[in-house]
């Protein structure tokens, strides 16, 4: 079996199995822990608090302007590379075909050249993100293996993808195999590290939003 077939077949299968297994384990293991009841009287009723909580799920995506002066650079950087990743993942034709092969859904794609440019920009941004993590006193202090490894697997997928597109460094099928293998690695790491934030972000915001809203506190 060739490397590419291995990456697309057994490795992908194992990665998907680990991904689904791990994500469900972690999410269910978090959700089903004890629930502490809150007995105080909500300011404006439970329904309003819940609706406001839902709202926070989205509104927290945009920082309050009072904070932007201090956090603007970091947030812009974070936003930029996330958008870049989303465009590259969702609008590169082969990626859509990959998704189609798994789930049967597809959508229009962007020209490969544009996606390549965005991928290069995203890679540059990821370098900036790493540099910032290493240089910023708070980030350096907070960072652990998870932070660096999650950065590594994400960047690896981008780099191998770009190499495959540019046919740089090895033969195309080898590069493509590396690219898919690196994605398999990302899937396997996903449930165990901070990449899980994609699953936690909205429940976490909504929970916080709900509890702030039931107090009538700004959220």
């Amino acid at each position: 079996m060739e490397l590419l077939e291995f990456a697309r077949g057994p490795a992908l299968k194992v990665a998907l199995v680990v991904f689904c297994f791990g994500v469900l384990w972690r999410l269910v293991g978090t959700v089903l822990l004890r629930y502490h009841r809150h007995l105080s009287e909500p300011r404006d009723g439970y329904f309003k608090a819940f609706m406001l909580g839902l709202l926070v799920g989205g509104s927290r995506s945009w920082p309050h302007k009072q904070y932007i002066k201090r956090t603007g650079y970091g947030e812009a950087l974070g936003y930029a590379y996330h958008i870049g990743l989303f465009i590259v993942i969702l609008f590169f034709a082969p990626h859509v075909l990959f998704i189609k092969s798994l789930f049967g859904v597809s959508w229009p794609t962007l020209p490969s050249g544009i996606v390549t440019i965005i991928a290069v920009l995203t890679f540059t941004l990821l370098l900036a993100v790493l540099f910032r993590r290493l240089a910023h006193r708070v980030l350096r202090r907070l960072s652990n293996f998870d932070d660096y490894f999650s950065w590594f697997v994400t960047t690896l997928v981008i780099v191998t993808g770009l190499m495959a597109t540019a046919h740089f460094g090895a033969r195309y099928e080898t590069l493509l195999a590396w690219h898919i293998l690196s994605f398999d690695l990302l899937l396997i790491w996903y449930p165990f590290g901070k990449l899980m934030h994609a699953f936690y972000i909205f429940p976490s915001r909504i929970i916080n939003g709900y509890f702030l809203a039931r107090k009538g506190a700004p959220s």
Binding site: E2, L4, E5, R8, G9, L12, K13, L16, V17, V18, F19, C20, F21, G22, V23, L24, W25, R26, L27, V28, G29, T30, V31, L32, L33, R34, A93, P94, H95, L97, F98, K100, S101, L102, F103, T109, L110, P111, S112, G113, H167, R171, Y172, E173, L176
Partner: protein
């Protein structure tokens, strides 16, 4: 064929056949350009060819469909390939030779004997090993035996076609005859693979020319001449610009297909297939599969029948068959999650209770 002719150089044979020097040089220069050699190399090839003794060639056919030979013979106009037959001494080819049965076997044995250590073996077709090799016998000898006997005294082996190069169709799942490529049997001789189903005729002839004049050419990891197998179909495809701007045919009869857009989504294996189809093309440079509207099947790559899921599955597609295992894993994960949460609750309760007990104890003190 007489010994006298075999002793002649290529140049002598050519002039005897009325080939002008001009035609010959043209052939050499075009061969050099095929091989992606420097322009001056045309002259070198010409010089070399003119003084080279025509080497003896033994053409063995095993588990094959004769398509490769068809490919080679069909396209000899304008007699370029014909010249090749004048440059080599094809001493054995059971399909082409007039002799049959015992005489043909004798011709082979004679060629081996006369040119021991110098002749070239061209193999077409896979070699079955199952049940002692009974699935392919000639004159009571199994294919593998013939190959071993013939290869022993060979200077080099050229595998023409995907079957001899990688096993091809006989080797494909479930491989009932236990077919293997030549490279699995002969490991001690220089080996050149010219895969394709069939290979492009000019690629076969040019490879032979290069071998005759310059020896074993530069090869890739699959022993393919880099001159022809150095780039992917995708890289040289005239439809590549459509790939780059994201214009794809989605079905065989949609607007994209009619407009000649990229066939990637229809399963084209061009990006992972190394061959010269997109540049040399077929039938005197008339066309190649993609140009006629069909995605590349990747026939010059190992196991092309079995890999990639289907000829029509895009290269980017996963090869995992069904998502069911992932779904099951999610279910098991959820169950483990329930277990983890339950365990955590129990542990928390135990800790909480031990705290309460400690408190009561300290009050009693």
């Amino acid at each position: 064929m007489t010994t006298a002719i075999r002793e002649q150089t290529v140049g002598e044979v050519l002039s005897a056949n009325g080939v002008s020097r001009r035609t010959f040089i043209k052939f050499c220069v075009s061969t050099a350009s095929f091989l992606a050699l420097a322009p001056g190399m045309g002259q070198v090839i010409a010089k070399q060819l003119l003084k080279t003794k025509r080497p003896s060639v033994i053409y063995l056919s095993f588990q094959e469909c004769t398509g490769c030979l068809e490919s080679l013979t069909r396209s000899y106009t304008p007699s370029v390939e014909n010249m090749i037959f004048n440059m080599i001494s094809l001493d054995y080819d059971d399909t082409l030779m007039a002799a049959a049965g015992k005489q043909s076997e004798e011709a082979r044995d004679a060629a081996i004997k006369e040119n021991y250590g110098k002749y070239l073996v061209v193999v077409d077709g896979a070699v079955p090993l199952g049940n002692g090799g009974v699935y392919n016998t000639q004159g009571g000898k199994s294919a593998v035996q013939i190959l071993r006997d013939t290869a022993k005294g060979a200077a080099a082996i050229v595998c023409v076609g995907t079957c001899s190069s990688y096993g091809g169709l006989p080797y494909a799942n479930p491989n009932p005859t236990g077919a293997v490529p030549v490279s699995d049997i002969i490991t001690d001789k220089p080996l050149i693979n010219v895969p394709g189903c069939p290979p492009i005729p000019a690629v076969i002839t040019s490879t032979l020319v290069q071998y005759v004049t310059l020896g074993v050419p530069a090869l890739d990891a699959h022993h393919r001449p880099l001159a022809f197998y150095g780039n992917t179909i995708h890289d040289r495809c005239y439809r590549r610009p459509y790939f780059d701007v994201g214009k794809f045919a989605k079905t065989f009869d949609d607007e994209g297909a009619r407009n000649g857009w990229c066939l990637y989504e229809l399963g084209c294996k061009g990006p992972t297939t190394y061959n010269a189809c997109a540049t040399v093309k077929w039938n005197e440079g008339t066309s190649f599969p993609i140009e006629s509207g069909h995605p590349c099947l990747g026939c010059s790559e190992p196991s092309f029948w079995d890999r990639n899921g289907s000829f029509y599955a895009p290269l980017a597609a996963g090869l995992i068959g069904s998502l069911a295992p992932a779904g099951e894993a999610a279910g098991v994960g959820a169950a483990v999650g329930i277990g983890a949460a339950a365990l955590s609750r129990l542990r928390s309760r135990a800790r909480t209770q031990s705290r309460a007990a400690e408190k009561t104890a300290s009050k009693e003190d």
